[in-house]
Symmetry: D2
Subunit: 251 residues, 4 copies
């Protein structure tokens, strides 16, 4: 029975590429995303075409019990979740305080913070029982500082970052590796950046930016490395950005 790499938020960007990377290393990839059954099938087929195995599920992470029951089903039907990847974003663009509805503020928290809490609550004890496991959390600079218009996003990601620290503090000594990976740049992802820009502008941006767009299969290499670190040398937090970008802390 293969170990499982479970990805919550598996589009054609970071999530799908991380799933594919682990599948290549003989994990069974379980891909979950909210919508787009076709896109999901395509990702699973790509992995299978490369000789890997994968399963895909539509999953509405903010629905009560959705993450929990998916983890339980995977554990009983497929195999132990050795690596869980929480890759849900909560960026809604810049909105002034007055234009940020209660609902939008709460939704940010449900996606970015509470969903991770729920995933951790179900996978960490299982990993603890096995004495090992890895929880990789994709994050953003909104977890490090609050920019204008980012009320919902920054409050939610700031919570996510410190939640990763409390999880690490409790589960690290039990053999569970929790890592907070700050993606500080634009990812070359057709499902997010591509849809935001439209096909024409997306094509042009890819041409002009080149390696200034973060390549998600290369991000996946670092996710894989972190999951492979020997337990005497674990990384809890790192940043990732294109060589050509200024880090968030620079002027």
């Amino acid at each position: 029975m293969k170990p499982v790499c479970l990805v919550i938020g598996a589009g054609a960007g970071i999530g799908g590429n991380v799933a594919r990377r682990f599948a290549r290393e003989d994990y069974h990839a379980v891909l979950c995303r909210r919508s787009d059954q076709e896109g999901l099938k395509r990702l699973v087929s790509t992995i299978e075409a490369e000789g890997g195995t994968a399963s895909g599920y539509l999953l509405n992470a903010i629905e009560e019990g959705s993450i929990e029951s998916r983890v339980e089903a995977v554990e009983s039907e497929i195999g132990p979740v050795e690596v869980a990847v929480y890759n849900l974003g909560a960026q809604i663009g810049n909105r002034s305080l007055e234009d940020t509805s209660h609902k939008a503020f709460e939704m940010g928290w449900r996606l970015a913070t509470f969903g991770l809490f729920r995933l951790a609550q179900v996978v960490c004890p299982l990993m603890e029982g096995r004495g090992h496991g890895t929880l990789l959390v994709t994050s953003a600079t909104a977890a490090m500082r609050g920019n204008p218009g980012q009320h919902s996003h920054a409050a939610a990601m700031g919570g996510r970052r410190l939640l990763c620290q409390t999880l690490n503090a409790e589960y690290g000594p039990k053999g569970v590796h929790v890592a907070h990976l700050v993606v500080d740049g634009s990812v070359d992802a057709p499902d997010t950046l591509g849809k935001m820009l439209g096909p024409e502008r997306y094509r042009k941006l890819r041409e002009t930016r080149g390696d200034g767009l973060m390549q998600p299969d290369k991000i996946a290499d670092t996710f894989w490395h972190i999951a492979q670190q020997h337990r005497s040398v674990w990384t809890h937090e790192l940043d990732l950005r294109p060589f050509s970008d200024s880090p968030w802390w620079n002027e």
Copy 2:
């Protein structure tokens, strides 16, 4: 008509003392707390006995519309909220991940993050309209790093801190001063520390710790100073702790 200093979370510790300090400087203090009508009356009476004016209201901050309607009533019946103090904590003690219920996790967010968002959403535009105003946010080291057992608290306070940054980024240039004040130590507060320890242990601790317990009237001096800073030299974040304590970042 006096300017108003509105305190959300006005017990006998930081909140009550900040209210009293502003009342002494000729603000009308509006004290809000969830329960203890007697304690509330006592605080109002103390302020009045010192020659100040104050009003007290029971207010359940997590109830929909509670903060919003209180601000509206104060603005129409008492005076403009020149200074708003968000002093609600969300510390529930250390709980393992498995012992942290969904409800407890959400409650932390509602008290520490969402309540501040709601207060800001109603007072910041009013202050912007007047061209000035101050929002002082009491915070904790759980806003800076996530300790073991602090899943609910740290996620909520981490969100609070970055929310203060987004509020500052949007409202600073409009003349509204938002400050995040990190209280890194035990406050000599009968309503929180005192109730937690019981009268006997509390009495003893006060004797042995002396100035190692943060005196809330002295904390209030710094809150007052920050609210008085000239707008060319505003502080957004500072820490406060007893001389005898190690800061959170030290070993």
Copy 3:
């Protein structure tokens, strides 16, 4: 005998205004600066005209023994250094790595880091002996993050910040208050900004920026407040910037 407020780096900006503020509160101000005997006399005269007392000395902080012998002379001839202010900057403008000479890199360290170490080494034990005292350190965002071209400055100020933390860790419990004050904006100071810009551009900037230039006498108010904090509620670090500026951490 009045307590002394010793200012290392006393020009017409932050340093001179802090000296003046303390002199108004019945401290004897001791002003030290590297050059400009006339400017020094003017600052002393201004303080005296306001009814205060002050002394001025030319002092080359990087010269061996200069700070040490000045402190000793002040302690024996004037009075106990109750408050020491280290206000020497080390900004040399942006220089590429190749254009940053060994000498410039070392000079940054000598001014920004080593000079503070030397001051601390002589005043902290004296303050410890008296059971109280305050060391206020003016700092910059170069202490928080390294910007392009800031090789010398950022390395030196990054060292300064952590030195403040080690001093605080060792001397806080002994009653000595060490504070690191991050000035994140342009200060309306004729001796630095004024000389950099020239009289005409400086005049115009003051007109157009208004409260967007940090007023040094207002900065002095916060220095004074920090020095007055009760020892149960000390601030170790805070930031200061104009309402109209973006903090360094924002995009």
Copy 4:
């Protein structure tokens, strides 16, 4: 001609293992250390026995011109320095402020900060000329916060960290990858930990701590990974610690 991995500070811990790791990946390893010609030979022999190539040099990093001339000789005689590793520590144990001599304070800076500046000044332009290259800097938690007794070390490492940021800001866009790697734990290194403890205590510690001691060959895996990151997804900073240790930010 093989690319060169130059290690400044190549003992039997992180430095030697990083050299060995790169040698296994077909780099020529150049090992530099201040003393112990025998240890140096042993490291070179180990690499050669594994089929790699390496050279060893004694190098006193604080001596004027030492790093510069070594880099020049390597570039002209061996090959291009594709990866430079700055692995010199400056930990001198805890010393009170009064027991920290001017010399010790300066030595910390010369080793931890100025030496890195000098290395960068000679290798970064060479790497820029080639359009690629990597500078890996081993660091410590003393770069993040100042603990008691760490006056020299923290001031020096705090400077090192911000210097890494200024180097990254200037050279990242030119294709040179600068990374700051915070080692937050005890490394199982005979040349440092071993000598500090003596053979008997070192043996016992290894038995009792097990994976709680950071294994330097595993640290080398992460150094290797960072040097291999695609330039669209570079890491500038990460931490490394044993699963069983509390991070520096936790209580």
